[in-house]
Each structure stands twice: as structure tokens, then as C-alpha cells.
């Protein structure tokens, strides 16, 4: 419809003007219709994207730590309380404050530092940690569920503040406080759980901090000092602290050895006091007294490095690591706390977890007795001790017993869950017997409690600097050898001059006593 006037003179053009104008206008209409589609598409894209952000992406954005809007908005919710299991005390409660015509609920933690790492904190300025963060949906009743949805909608219509769900943890408050007292000014952690159910009774990390002052006086927390630098009081050493396992790793090596069928508990070794790796000598902890001829059971009970070193060289690193994986290494142990507050155990290289592609990448001899670049968490080692005591069954650790709606209805209840069978019953029972011997007359005698059958393993991770050993004690405890253990524990201490047997074992004993005797007389 475009006028073809380019070859014509002015007169012709004027003559055809009425026609060309009319045609031109019709021609423009086609363009205008198309432009309308473009304009409507532009605004339509906005509708689509608004829908995307408000529905599809909303949950992801709500979970972001820097989402101050969601966080502040949730302070108008009567947040659920957090309880200890035994005694049933409130670990987190609310105080109401009227601000700008609105009732807001701020957190108070009656027990302060006692369970600060597990419970965490919920603040306006510093976001959330611990269960306060990972269970936020439950605590703010924003977990999608028809009945709770109706309840919260009704509350909103009535103008009442929404009430969150209460959380009952498995924590044994008395034992938790014994653990923290025993740790004292040392940097370290205690994790104790019931291996039969996975219920975590104690998760103490030292130094701790008072979650009540996080909002107003965070400076005071950064000034906390302890027997290590940095003191890192906010770090949950129980599940996120990575330490050289030392001889506690021999439990895994022994399990791998028995599983390989190349060794039995009676396999005998000649201990020269050292072992040769790549032409170099690796010494026992005490080189002055070589054990001479010794069997595997006694080698574990007395923690003889050369024996495990040779087993490691024979088995190869990957076979041992595969057994470790069966115990839960190389994955974050499942727990209700936030994922980034839990670390996976395993070999680390440049700050990253690594699994060797071929055996020669790793010094299997050193790794077999817990050196090399092996790093583990106390939670992981408590799981190992528990699985050995329980005949090889690895249970999922759980720190939350149940979540209860405001009306009293239980929304979620922790049920014992088997992760997997880590090792065969024969292997587990054999290693358990070795660990019992270690407590009976080996390196772990300091952990003995009369009336209980306890199996344990000491560990001393050497850093090469005197007075800065990492010391360990892991153990399981039951009424007798036949019945499944009620308790598994891992204790770790940083910057020690003693051994695991002299420093960590007594702490383990005190905490175990608190739990075992506490359950006897409720």
C-alpha cells in the first residue's frame, strides 16, 4: 500500500494525495496492531515474572540468610518454643514488645550458653543459626500443611498473632551441663547419643556463647577467649569441627581388616616399635617399649601404631576409606541442624574433601592410625562408636524428638532410622571386644564406670608442636556385654599436652555417668 511516487513529479503527487493518504493510514493501522501486540507482550512479561517471584521463587528467597524482610516479618509470629528432653525445660522462649502498633516477639534463651550451638539464635540483625534456622518453617508455622494452614489463616483473620510449633529436642540438659563444665576453658566438644535410636543427648561445644547477647552485644562474643586461637565460640565443634582422629581411626582400620577376611582378631604381628613407609620409619607413640609379638585385639587395646600401619599398607587406602564410608564418612551426617553447620569427615586436601583415585595418592600406613590428611567430626566418631557397639548398625542421629502444634498435636516425631549396616555383626562384635579390652586394661581405663560394660578407644592426634595435641576418646556403654549399648560418646580436646586416655577419657566418663545414672533415676 506504500505510495509509489518516487518517479513522479510534484503535480502527479498532489493529484494522488487523497488516495495515498487514505492508503497510508490503513497501512499504518497494520503497524499499530503489531505494536499493540509488542506493548501487551512487554506488560505480559511483567505479569509472568511477578508470578515467578511471588510463587515459584518465593520459597527460595525466603530461605536466604540476607532476606531481612522475611526475617523481620517473622518477628510478628509467636515463635514456637524449644525444649530440652530431660528435664523438660524451655531452651528458647519469647518476650513480647509493642513496636509501631505491632506486637513483636523477640527470643530469649533461659539457659544461655548451655545449648547455644544446637538451638542457635534468631535475631533481627544477625539472622539465624542452629535449629532456629533449620526448623524456622516449623517454628513460624509456615510449614505448608492443610490443617496448620487453616489454623494460621484463621488466626490472621481474627487478628491474633500466628503461633509457631514447639520443638522438643533430645538433649539431656544435666549431661549437657556436665559436658560443658568438664570441657572448661579447653577448646573441644562432646557428642553423646543413644546408638539404638540415634537420639543425640549431648552436643556441647567449648567455648560457648550466650545467644541472648548476639543482637545487642556481638562484640562481647568476638572477645571470648579459650585455650585455642581463634576461639571461634560460634562454631559448633560437635558437628562442624574437623580434627585429626589419631588412634580413634584404628577402630575403622580394624573393621576394614576384619571385613577383608585377611585378618582375624587373633592375627599376630611382630611390633618392632615402628613401621616403614616409603623407606621411612613411623614410630609408635612410645618407641621405648616395643610390644614384640602381639595380636590384633591387644594392638587395638594398647593402640600399637606399627601394627595398624602395616595393616594399612597391606589393605591400601581405598579399602579402608570404603569401610569409613560405610560408617558415614564423605557425607554430612544427617541431623536437623543446618547443613552448613555440619561437616563431612574424610581426607581433606586444600580445605576440600577428597577421595583418592588410586591408592598411591595417600599414605595408607599413616592413614591407618589416623594421621595423613584425615579429618573427622566428633558427631561422626560418636556414630562410629555407636555402630560398633550396636553390632554394625549405623543409626541416623537425631537431635529433635518431636514437633508439636500449638494445640498439642504432634506434627513430626523422630523415629529411629537405620542409615545402613556399616560392617557385619561379627566384625562389629570383634572390634567391640577389642574396645572393651582397651577400657578394661588398655589405654582407656580412665573411662571405667562400675556396673557398666564400656568399650572405648583413645586417640592422640599429633600436630608436631608440644602441648598442642588433639586428644580423643570415643566409647559406647551398656549394662553388659550382651545387651545393646545405651550410649555412644565422642570427646575431643584441642591443644593438650596429655594423651586421649588422660585428658578426654575422664570427661567421657563424667558425661556418660550423668546420662546413665540420670536415666536410672528419672
Amino acid at each position: 500500500m506504500r505510495p509509489r511516487t518516487q518517479h513522479c513529479g510534484d503535480q502527479r503527487r498532489i493529484a494522488t494525495l487523497p488516495f495515498t493518504l487514505e492508503g497510508a493510514q490503513k497501512g499504518m493501522n497494520r503497524q499499530i496492531v503489531r505494536l499493540t501486540y509488542v506493548a501487551l507482550t512487554l506488560v505480559g512479561v511483567l505479569v509472568v515474572m511477578t508470578t515467578y517471584w511471588q510463587t515459584w521463587a518465593a520459597a527460595g528467597l525466603a530461605d536466604r540468610q540476607d532476606n531481612a524482610i522475611k526475617r523481620v516479618a517473622e518477628f510478628s509470629i509467636d515463635r514456637g518454643l524449644v525444649f530440652a528432653f530431660e528435664p523438660r525445660k524451655r531452651l528458647a522462649r519469647n518476650v513480647e514488645r509493642e513496636i509501631d502498633q505491632k506486637t513483636l516477639f523477640f527470643r530469649r534463651y533461659p539457659y544461655g550458653p548451655l545449648a547455644a550451638h544446637v538451638v542457635g539464635y534468631s535475631t533481627v540483625g544477625r539472622s539465624r543459626t542452629g535449629l532456629e534456622r533449620s526448623l524456622n518453617d516449623y517454628l513460624t508455622a509456615s510449614n505448608a500443611n492443610l490443617s496448620t494452614f487453616v489454623d494460621t489463616a484463621l488466626d490472621e483473620l481474627r487478628g491474633k498473632p500466628v503461633r509457631g510449633n514447639n520443638v522438643v529436642t533430645n538433649l539431656d540438659l544435666d549431661a549437657q551441663s556436665v559436658a560443658l563444665e568438664e570441657l572448661g576453658t579447653n577448646c573441644g566438644a562432646v557428642v553423646a547419643l543413644d546408638p539404638r535410636t540415634g537420639k543425640v543427648k549431648v552436643m556441647a561445644s567449648s567455648p560457648s556463647f550466650d545467644p541472648n547477647i548476639v543482637e545487642e552485644n556481638f562484640q562481647a562474643i568476638s572477645r571470648i577467649t579459650a585455650n585455642c586461637t581463634p576461639a571461634a565460640p560460634l562454631l559448633n565443634r560437635g558437628s562442624a569441627g574437623l580434627y585429626v582422629p589419631g588412634s580413634t581411626f584404628k577402630v575403622i582400620t580394624a573393621s576394614a581388616a576384619l571385613e577383608s577376611k585377611k585378618y582375624t582378631p587373633e592375627s599376630s604381628f611382630l611390633d618392632p616399635g615402628y613401621c616403614t613407609v616409603y623407606g621411612k620409619r613411623v614410630n609408635n607413640f612410645d618407641t621405648s617399649r616395643p610390644f614384640g609379638t602381639i595380636d590384633l585385639t591387644n594392638a587395638l587395646a594398647y593402640s600399637v601404631n606399627s601394627v595398624f600401619c602395616n595393616i594399612g599398607l597391606k589393605l591400601g587406602a581405598r579399602r579402608i576409606l570404603d569401610t569409613a564410608k560405610r560408617f558415614g564418612f564423605y557425607e554430612r551426617p544427617p541431623l536437623e541442624t543446618p547443613a552448613d553447620e555440619r561437616m563431612a569427615s574424610g581426607l581433606y586436601r586444600n580445605g576440600k574433601l577428597f577421595y583418592p583415585k588410586v591408592d598411591v595418592n595417600v599414605d595408607a600406613g599413616r592413614m591407618a592410625f589416623g594421621q595423613e590428611r584425615m579429618l573427622v567430626t566428633p558427631l561422626q566418631m560418636a556414630m562410629v562408636a555407636g555402630a560398633i557397639g550396636l553390632g554394625g548398625r549405623l543409626m541416623e542421629p537425631q537431635v529433635v524428638d518431636r514437633i508439636v502444634a500449638p494445640g498439642g498435636k504432634v506434627i513430626e516425631r523422630g523415629r529411629p532410622r537405620l542409615i545402613r549396616r556399616a560392617v557385619s555383626k561379627e566384625t562389629a562384635d570383634a572390634v567391640a571386644a577389642m574396645m572393651r579390652l582397651a577400657v578394661e586394661r588398655g589405654t582407656g581405663t580412665a573411662a571405667q564406670i562400675s556396673g557398666y560394660s564400656i568399650g572405648g578407644k583413645t586417640g592422640t592426634g599429633e600436630t608436631g608442636v608440644p602441648g598442642s595435641n588433639i586428644t580423643w576418646f570415643i566409647a559406647f556403654a551398656g549394662e553388659d556385654e550382651e545387651s545393646p549399648p545405651e550410649l555412644a560418646i565422642a570427646v575431643v580436646l584441642q591443644n593438650q599436652s596429655g594423651t586421649g586416655g588422660t585428658t578426654a577419657a575422664p570427661i567421657a566418663r563424667a558425661v556418660m555417668q550423668a546420662i546413665l545414672q540420670g536415666t536410672e533415676n528419672p
Binding site: 518516487q6 499499530i32 512487554l42 505480559g44 511483567l46 511477578t50 508470578t51 522475611k70
Partner: protein, 444 residues
């Protein structure tokens, strides 16, 4: 029912919306229920009834939906701004009144034949460039967030870019109407004046760092060129030119790079250099703070929103969580409190306005009117897209206003001018027994 009667009913409905919204805000924000909301509702109704009465006398055959749609948009804006800051709400109401006065004045002034403007097209073109230049004049211009788009005259501040847009459209409509036939042949020399005016406008924009206006004006230019010539090739060439220009700008101007980086990667997992305080910070805590906070605000609204007055915009100690909420981010405030339902309703009103505006362009009897109506409507749609799209991370965020909704006098006045233009064109298109006596009254 005549167009004007429908308009009146529409205005009544819009006033009801405004009253309910304001009442909702006062109930949520103030201890005792204030009867003031109803007074304001009545004032709102009165204001638009004045506009309606004037329209009845000056543009009796104009589209009956445009004025009520405008009223709904201003109601959205007034309620949200009042909710954020009652003082600003009052000032915005005053600006809406000024806007209506400008609308009335324009209708009265141009009621006989607005096409006289066509003969002043070059005046409009030059004025548009002049207006765009104003913020760069030393002593007059004011820099906000690294962008010069304000002029401070001491007693009043205004954004000349908003008015320049309208003037540019009038210029383009006049010029393209005159030259469209020769332009369609694609001879370079015919593009001369066009390129000069447009190039000047672009240079000014580069100088002031005002990317939003650049995109807006360029988009309007391309759209009108396409409508005039019907050559998609021109649009393609224009877009290619734009891409090239954007690449040059990206490499030359740090501000542009920052905007694009924020758009592509608003969140970082590691701390990056923060130019605001010279430290290492997560980008969401530094450069992309505004965008990210605004997204959180939108997401917090969810499907139904928190309700007017119950949104979270301040921390527990009263500090603002989202910057520039009343202007650039008014959409994120609305989206939080009214949710997807309210935000989608608002966008639907924008869509209806666009449909009505384009209908005016289709009905318009002459080339100048067609081009002007299409340009004004497309400018309206594109401006909405650029600012809301920026807030929604569809395009890089630039600071321009949401028509009729954002806080700001210049923007309100300029958009009422836009409305006046559409009403005038629509009236002429639908007037029976006009020059072309054979045209049906509702042709198109």
C-alpha cells in the same frame, strides 16, 4: 450509554477503590479508625469529576475508559505512598490535583484543533533536547545515585526527562508524518534531522548516565519509525545500532557495567569488592542491595499479599529495609502488600490503558494523530516495562518512574499530559460530521 457516562461510572468505581484502599491503610496503621479515609475518597471523586465535567465539554467523543483507568492507577499510587509516609501521600495527592489541572488546561487550550502542534514540531524537538540538557547545567542539575536527572530550581525540583519524552513524541509524530513516504524509501539524507535530534538526545542521556530514559526514548523512536514506514528492517537496523552502542557504553562507562553485573549476578557466594565502602562484601549486601531487597519484598507478598498496611518495609528499630520505595520501587511495595493478585490487577490496568490508547491510534483520522497516539501509548507501556522489568530483574534496573503510580510531581504531570493527548486525539477521531463527513463516528 455514551462514552462520557461510562467514564463517570468508571470514576465512581475508581473512587471506591481509592476509599477502600485508604481506609484499609488507616485501619492497619493507626490506633483508632479514622474517618479521614472517606473524606479523602470524596475529594478523590470530586477531583476526577472535575476532570470528567471538563472532558464532557471539551472532548465529548473521547474514549470513556482512559480517565477511569488513570484514576485507578493514581489510587494505587496514592494508597501505597500514603501507607509508606502519610506526608508524602498528601504531597502526592497535591501533585495529582496539579496533574488534573494540567489535563483540564490542556483540554481547554487545544479543544478546537490540537493539530496546530504539528507545525511547531521542530520547536518541540529542540525543547526536548534542551530539557534533557538541563540537569547537566552546572548549578541546576543534581546527581542522585550517580545519575543526573533532576533539576533544582530552589523552590521546586523536577525531572525534565519526563516532559522531554512527551515533547520528543510530538516532534517525532510531526516529522515522521511529513517524511514517512520518503523515509520508507530509505534514502540516507532524509534521516538527517531525525538522526541529529535523536543523536543529541542520546548524547545528553549518556552525559547524564540516565540509562532508563535512553532506552525509553530510543524504544519510542524505533516504534514510531516502524509505524510510520512499516519497515521492519529499520527496527532491525536500529536494534543492531543499539546493541553496538550498548557495547560501547558498556566498555566505556563504569556505571553501565555495574548495572549489568548487578542484573546478571545479584547474589555472590563470595565477598567481592564493594565500591561503596571499599571493603569486601557480598554483592547482595552492597551493589545489588536495592534490587535484592526489592525482590525479597515482592516474594514476601506471595499470592494474596500481607494486606495493605501490614507489609514489612522497616526493621524492628524503624530503619528502612528497601531504599527508594516510593519512587523506583513502588511496585515492590504494592506487590508485597497486595500480593500476586494485586500486582497482577495493577498490571492488568496498565494493559487496559495500552489497549485503549492503541485503539485511539487505530481510530485516528490523520497520520500525525496516529503517530502521536501510538507513540504516547507505546512510551507508556515501555516505561512501565523498563521500571517494573528492572524491579523484577527482567532487564537491568534503571531509575525511572512507574506512570501515575510512583511518587513524583513531574512524572504525574507529564503523564496527565499524555492522557490529555490521547483524549484529544480520540475525541477528534470519534467526532461525527467532521471534515470527512463520510466517516462513521466509530470507524477505525
Amino acid at each position: 450509554m455514551s462514552a462520557r457516562t461510562r467514564e463517570l461510572w468508571g470514576i465512581v468505581v475508581a473512587s471506591l477503590i481509592a476509599s477502600v484502599a485508604l481506609a484499609s491503610v488507616t485501619i492497619a496503621r493507626e490506633p483508632e479508625i479514622a474517618g479521614r479515609a472517606l473524606t479523602w475518597g470524596a475529594l478523590f471523586l470530586g477531583l476526577y469529576v472535575v476532570a470528567h465535567v471538563v472532558a464532557r465539554r471539551t472532548v465529548p467523543y473521547a474514549d470513556g475508559a482512559l480517565l477511569p483507568l488513570t484514576a485507578v492507577l493514581t489510587a494505587f499510587g496514592l494508597a501505597s505512598i500514603y501507607r509508606l509516609d502519610p506526608g508524602d501521600g498528601g504531597r502526592q495527592a497535591l501533585w495529582v490535583a496539579v496533574g488534573v489541572a494540567v489535563l483540564v488546561a490542556t483540554l481547554v487550550l487545544l479543544r478546537h484543533d490540537y493539530r496546530v502542534l504539528e507545525s511547531y514540531r521542530y520547536v518541540f524537538g529542540v525543547t526536548a533536547v534542551g530539557l534533557l540538557l538541563l540537569p547537566s547545567v552546572p548549578g541546576l542539575g543534581e546527581r542522585v545515585n550517580g545519575v543526573r536527572l533532576w533539576v533544582d530550581l530552589g523552590w521546586v525540583q523536577f525531572q525534565p526527562g519526563e516532559l522531554a519524552k512527551i515533547f520528543l513524541i510530538v516532534f517525532l509524530a510531526g516529522y515522521l508524518r511529513e517524511k514517512r513516504e520518503v523515509l520508507a524509501q530509505g534514502r540516507l539524507k532524509d534521516f538527517g534531522p531525525l538522526v541529529v535530534i535523536w543523536g543529541a538526545a542520546m548524547l545528553v542521556v549518556v552525559q547524564t548516565n540516565d540509562l532508563g530514559s535512553a532506552l525509553l526514548n530510543f524504544g519510542i523512536f524505533l516504534a514510531m519509525l516502524y509505524v510510520a514506514t512499516g519497515r521492519a528492517l529499520f527496527v532491525a537496523a536500529g536494534l543492531a545500532l543499539f546493541a553496538g552502542g550498548a557495547a560501547v557504553l558498556y566498555n566505556a562507562i563504569q556505571h553501565v557495567q555495574d548495572r549489568v553485573t548487578i542484573w546478571l549476578h545479584p547474589w555472590t557466594d563470595e565477598r567481592v569488592f564493594c565500591s561503596q565502602n571499599g571493603l569486601l562484601e557480598y554483592r547482595q549486601d552492597c551493589a545489588s542491595y536495592q534490587l535484592v531487597k526489592s525482590l525479597y519484598s515482592i516474594a514476601n507478598g506471595g499470592f494474596g499479599g500481607t494486606g495493605l498496611g501490614d507489609g514489612t518495609f522497616t526493621s524492628t528499630d524503624g530503619t528502612q529495609l528497601i531504599p527508594a520505595l516510593r519512587t523506583d520501587f513502588i511496585f515492590s511495595a504494592i506487590a508485597q502488600e497486595l500480593g500476586l493478585l494485586g500486582a497482577a490487577a495493577l498490571l492488568l490496568v496498565f494493559m487496559l490503558f495500552v489497549v485503549r490508547g492503541m485503539r485511539v491510534a487505530l481510530q485516528a483520522p490523520d497520520g500525525f494523530s496516529k503517530l502521536a497516539a501510538a507513540g504516547l501509548t507505546f512510551g507508556f507501556a515501555l516505561q512501565t516495562f523498563i521500571i517494573v522489568g528492572g524491579v523484577l530483574r527482567v532487564v537491568p534496573l534503571t531509575g525511572i518512574t512507574l506512570p501515575f503510580v510512583s511518587y513524583g510531581g513531574t512524572s504525574i504531570v507529564a503523564n496527565f499530559l499524555l492522557l490529555a493527548g490521547l483524549l484529544l486525539i480520540s475525541n477528534r477521531a470519534n467526532t461525527p460530521s467532521l471534515l470527512q463527513g463520510d466517516r462513521p463516528s466509530r470507524g477505525g
